[in-house]
C-alpha cells in the first residue's frame, strides 16, 4: 500500500510535467489544427534557458532557494516563448493558407533543425542542471517521501493551470482562441485578429513548456539538446489520450500517462516504461481516436 502511495506521488509529479507540455500541443492544435512537432524542442529550450540563466545571470555563490527557482522558471518561460513565437512567425505563419501536409512537414523540419542546431549551440554532450532548489525529503511516515522538487512541481503547475484556466475561459483572448478552434474563417470574418490570437497562443503554450523544462531539469538534472524528444512525444500522446484540442483533456491525459508509467516501472519493470506511451497511443487511435474528452470529429494528419 505504501509503495502504491509513493508511486502515485511520483506519477502525479511526472504527470504534472507532461501536462504543462501537453497543454501547448493541445492549444496550438486548437487554433491551427497543427501538431507542433517542434514543441518538444521548445521544452528543451526551456531547460537550457534555465540552465544558462542559473549559471551566468545569477551572482556567484547564490544559494538554492524557492526564489531562485522561480526566477529560473521565469527566465525559461521567456526563453521558450521567444523561440515559440519565432517558429510561429517565420515557419508557420507564411504557410497559413498552404495545404496541411506542407505545414506538417515544416513542423517536423523545424523540430529536427532545433535538435541539431541545439547540439551546435549548446554542445552535444549532456550538461548538469544546476541545483536551484534546496533538496529535501519530507518523510510522510511509512517510507513514503515527498521531496521539495515534487512540491514545487505540484504548486507551480497548479498555479500555472489556474492562470491558464482563467485566460482561456474568462477573457476575450480565451473566447477568441476557442472561437478560432471552431472555425478560423468565421472568427476572422467577425472581427477576431486571428494572427494576434495565434501569436499569444504560442506565447502561452511555449511558456508553459519552458516552465516544464526547468522542472524536468531539476528532477532529472542531466540535460542535452535531444532532451525534448521523448518527453515531447509523451506529452503529445497525453494530449491525444485526453482529446487533442481539449485543454482539460490534456491535463487528464498527462496525469494518467504519468501515473501509468510510474506504476509500470514500479510494479513490472522500468524497461517497459517508455514503450507504454506508444502502446497507449495505439490503443487510443484504435479504440477512441477522439481521446477521452475529444470531439467525434477526427481528421487524419
Amino acid at each position: 500500500m505504501n509503495d502504491f502511495i509513493q508511486h502515485t506521488i511520483n506519477g502525479l509529479a511526472l504527470g504534472s510535467i507532461y501536462a504543462l507540455v501537453a497543454l501547448g500541443y493541445t492549444m496550438v492544435f486548437g487554433v491551427l489544427q497543427l501538431i507542433n512537432f517542434a514543441h518538444g524542442e521548445i521544452f528543451m529550450m526551456g531547460a537550457f534557458s534555465g540552465l544558462y540563466f542559473a549559471r551566468y545571470a545569477l551572482p556567484a555563490g547564490t544559494q538554492p532557494s524557492i526564489g531562485v527557482t522561480l526566477m529560473v522558471v521565469v527566465a525559461a518561460m521567456i526563453g521558450s516563448a521567444v523561440l515559440g513565437v519565432i517558429i510561429e512567425k517565420f515557419a508557420y505563419r507564411p504557410l497559413r493558407k498552404a495545404p496541411r501536409i506542407n505545414i506538417l512537414i515544416t513542423a517536423i523540419g523545424v523540430s529536427l533543425l532545433l535538435q541539431y542546431g541545439g547540439q551546435l549551440i549548446f554542445g552535444a554532450s549532456p550538461q548538469f542542471f544546476p541545483t536551484i532548489l534546496p533538496r529535501q525529503n519530507i518523510d510522510l511516515g511509512g517510507d513514503i517521501f515527498l521531496d521539495t522538487n515534487q512540491i514545487t512541481i505540484f504548486l507551480l503547475s497548479f498555479v500555472l493551470m489556474v492562470i491558464l484556466q482563467y485566460l482561456v475561459f474568462k477573457t476575450q483572448f480565451g473566447r477568441s482562441m476557442r472561437a478560432i478552434s471552431h472555425s478560423l474563417e468565421t472568427a476572422n470574418v467577425i472581427g477576431i485578429n486571428v494572427n494576434k490570437v495565434i501569436f499569444i497562443t504560442f506565447i502561452i503554450g511555449s511558456a508553459l513548456a519552458g516552465a516544464a523544462g526547468v522542472l524536468y531539469g531539476v528532477a532529472y538534472p542531466k540535460i542535452d539538446p535531444l532532451l525534448g524528444l521523448l518527453p515531447g512525444l509523451k506529452a503529445f500522446i497525453a494530449a491525444v489520450l485526453g482529446g487533442i484540442g481539449n485543454i482539460t483533456g490534456a491535463v487528464i491525459g498527462a496525469v494518467l500517462l504519468g501515473l501509468s508509467e510510474t506504476y509500470v516501472a514500479g510494479y513490472i519493470s522500468s524497461t517497459y516504461r517508455d514503450a507504454l506511451a506508444f502502446v497507449i497511443l495505439i490503443l487510443v487511435l484504435l479504440l477512441r481516436p477522439g481521446g477521452i474528452l475529444g470531439s467525434k470529429k477526427i481528421e487524419k494528419v
Binding site: 476575450q172 476557442r178 471552431h182 476572422n188 470574418v189 467577425i190 472581427g191 477576431i192 485578429n193
Partner: protein, 238 residues
Amino acid sequence: MDTLTVSDLAVNYGNVQALKGVSFKVPKGQIVSLIGANGAGKTTTLKAISGACASKGTVMFHGQPTTGMESYKLVGQGLIHAPEGRGIFPNLTVMENLQLGIVGRHSAKVNFQKNLEDSFKLFPRLQERITQMAGTLSGGEQQMLAIARALIGEPELLLLDEPSLGLAPQVVKLIFDIIVRINKEKQVTVLLVEQNAKQALKISHYAYVLETGKISLEGKGSDLLNNEDVKKIYLGEH
C-alpha cells in the same frame, strides 16, 4: 454619400470564376439586397467585401478603398458581417458569443451593456439562454444570436448572409421584421443576401440580381417584385 461602393469586383477560386466583375452600391440608411440562385456568388461577394477572400476591383467603405485591409480592421470601422450558416460558435455560450460582438470593434466597448440589453429586447429568448452552449440553440435562435452579436458591434454597415435559411415561416417573418426595425430605429445600413427573394425584395429599398457571377438585373425592391423575369425565376410564379 454611399456607405459602400463596389466596382468591378472579381474573385477566382482556382479556375472557377466566382465573380466576374460585379458593381453595385449601398446608400447610407438603406436596405439593399442581393438575390440569386445557389452558386451565383452571393456569399463570395460578401466575403470579398469583408476582406475574407482575395479579390480584384475596388470596394469603397465610407468613400475609402478597403484594398488589402484585414477583416478585423474593417470590423473595427463598423463593417460587420453575420456570415452564412449563422457563424456562431457552438462551443461557446450564448453570452460568450455576444461578448465577441465587440472583439474587433473597440468603439462599441463602452456601450456593451446597453447594446446587450437592446439585443435582449429584440430577442428576449436569448436572454433566457445566456449560459447555454450556443450549439444547443435551435436554428432560429442561432440566427437571432448571430444578428444580436452583429448589432452589439454597432454596425455602420451590416452584411447579412441568408438570415432566413432553413427557418420556419414565423421565424423568417420575425427575422425580416427585425431587419426592418434595426434599419429604421437604429439607422443601420444593410446589405442583405437572400434566396428568399420575395421577402427580401419586400423590405429592400433597392436590389440586385446576381447570376453566375454577374449582376443581371437591378431596381427598386418593389419594381423587381413585379418584374416578369424575377417572378418566373426567383419567385416561383408563372
